[in-house]
């Protein structure tokens, strides 16, 4: 035997976090399992024993694309637990901050992750060679969203200005006013994005989704509303766990959410739009009409158009909020100095869909239990259902083409693994 040392000097990369296992028997699809490899991150566990005041900053670290969603859901849940009422300009500022996140997150997905699928490119780098204008628009939109987050949230990624009760510091009228030209430009770009997306070629496919989203009487939902579905569900958000449950499945480290006694459901832009399109402001509604969206979109590939309409909405809403902004007397509502052990939950609309938080506090204000249900885990079972239908329709494809088709089907729903599913490993057993 000989021993030797081999110099390699290889720069490792983080590989895809997903794999798809398909079992086909004859012309029947026996089983489809979307496996998520990412190890558990234990956020719910390490929130225990921490002050409730830390929850917005700790949970923001769960996602670099949608940290505001985690901050908003944690703030609302804890404020509900403490009986705090937060309204007026602070409420409006939170909505404005959320607009920034919707813009940057949706722009990223539309132009850098999703559009290459429709135009025949493996990724945005290749897309940029032939369509530099499209990628430039995407980056410009993303920058506008990030800038908004920076001004309101103090930082464009993992904002540091959010706290229980409101903000550490509220921006001045002039600081927000300075955002207007950039947001006006973003609104025009967003409308162009809707036209761009609507002109893409879409597979002629519709799925029978149960759409679930917040809905309220006033506006397109972000921070408030009841949980509604297109199959008649209407419950207050604190009853979320009575209606939905998370289940462990052996093949994935991500939990699957199901509606109790019913099965998979879909959250995110398609669901929000189906349940709230009548709440869209004029320019977003006009963009949706021009794109021919109708009231409900069941074709998952057309989610790129709906996402673009939501960018129009977020820009339009941000401009409205800028115009009506008057700084509050105090940047935050003071939490009660003492309180008894308590519990509270809340849902807000992350760019990818409903994000549920629940906290139990002891009388010293320390978190005893936390539960977080992210949109991707709520959608995972539904994504598996989409994939099963896709595989059933595509049995004649070779493995490489089928892998490509499955990756596209996953990206339709912008899950947290969106950027890594270009490396989806597909394991097909045919018998």
């Amino acid at each position: 035997m000989t021993e030797r040392t081999i110099s390699v000097d290889y720069l490792a990369r983080v590989e895809g976090e997903g794999a798809l296992t398909v079992r086909i028997r004859g012309q029947e699809v026996d089983d489809v399992q979307l496996r998520i490899f990412e190890p558990p991150r234990f956020f719910e566990a390490f929130l225990r024993g921490r002050s409730y005041l830390e929850a917005p900053d700790i949970t923001a670290r769960i996602c670099g694309i949608c940290p505001v969603a985690y901050q908003m859901s944690s703030c609302h849940a804890l404020e509900r637990a403490l009986g705090m009422e937060v309204g007026g300009p602070i409420r409006e500022l939170r909505r404005l901050l959320y607009c920034g996140e919707w813009i940057e997150s949706h722009a990223l997905h539309i132009y850098l992750l999703h559009a290459p699928d429709f135009l025949g490119y493996p990724d945005a780098v290749h897309l940029a060679k032939d369509h530099p204008e499209a990628v430039r628009h995407g980056l410009e939109l993303k920058k506008a969203g990030n800038h908004l987050m920076q001004v309101v949230g103090g930082r464009e990624i993992h904002p540091v200005n959010v706290r229980i009760g409101g903000f550490y510091r509220c921006p001045t009228v002039d600081e927000l006013g300075a955002l207007r030209p950039e947001l006006e430009r973003a609104l025009a770009l967003a409308e162009e994005t809707v036209r761009f997306a609507a002109a893409l070629d879409f597979p002629d496919i519709e799925e029978d989704y149960e759409f679930v989203a917040l809905r309220n009487e006033r506006e397109y939902p972000m921070n408030e509303g009841e949980v509604a579905s297109n199959r008649g569900l209407r419950v207050p958000m604190h009853q979320f766990e009575d209606v939905f449950e998370e289940v462990h499945v052996a093949h994935s480290t991500a939990l699957h959410s199901v509606r109790r006694g019913a099965g998979s459901y879909l959250v995110g832009p398609l669901a929000r739009y189906a349940l709230n399109h009548d709440r869209l402001p004029p320019r977003a509604r006009s963009a949706a009409n021009e794109a021919g969206l109708g009231g409900t979109v069941r074709n998952p590939y057309r989610s790129i158009v709906v996402r673009a309409v939501e960018v129009v909405f977020a820009c339009e809403e941000a401009l409205r909020l800028l115009d009506h902004y008057r700084p509050p007397a105090a940047p935050f509502v003071e939490p009660p100095p003492t309180f008894r052990a308590t519990e509270g939950s809340a849902i807000t609309e992350a760019p990818r869909g409903m994000l549920y938080h629940r906290y139990r506090l002891n009388d010293g204000g320390l978190i005893e239990a936390a539960k977080i249900v992210a949109p991707t885990s709520q959608n995972q079972k539904r994504i598996e259902d989409d994939l099963r239908h896709l595989v059933e329709r595509s049995l004649a494809l070779d493995d490489a083409s089928l892998t490509d088709a499955c990756e596209r089907a996953i990206r339709n729903h912008d899950p947290c693994i969106s950027c890594s599913t270009h490396f989806l490993s597909l394991d097909i057993t045919r018998s």
Binding site: M1, T2, Y10, A12, R13, E15, G16, F37, E38, S420
Partner: protein, 92 residues
């Protein structure tokens, strides 16, 4: 948080290099980890033992050099520096 995904990529590369060099086993792996890589030493060691089972690197020793320099251009990455292999008798 991305240890598992990173190790899968590393193991694929290790397997490729080992086979190119007609190695029978990989006995030691040297890895350089940047200061901003978000890789945790204990977690990496634990995952290594689990991830290598059944691979050509099963039972191998993982030597990790953690860089403390956030200014290094590779600070957010990990580099597979070298591997020790055992080959058949008479092989170079």
């Amino acid at each position: 948080m991305h240890e598992e995904a990173l190790l899968r990529d590393l193991l694929r590369k290790i397997d490729e290099v080992a086979r190119e060099n007609e190695a029978l086993r990989v006995t030691r792996v040297r890895l350089w980890v940047g200061a901003l890589s978000h890789l945790a030493e204990a977690h990496l060691a634990e995952r290594w033992a689990m991830s290598t089972v059944g691979s050509i690197a099963e039972g191998s020793q993982l030597d990790v050099t953690f860089s403390g320099d956030p200014g290094d251009p590779r600070a957010n990455r990990a580099v597979l520096e070298s591997i020790d292999t055992v080959g058949p008798a008479g092989e170079p």
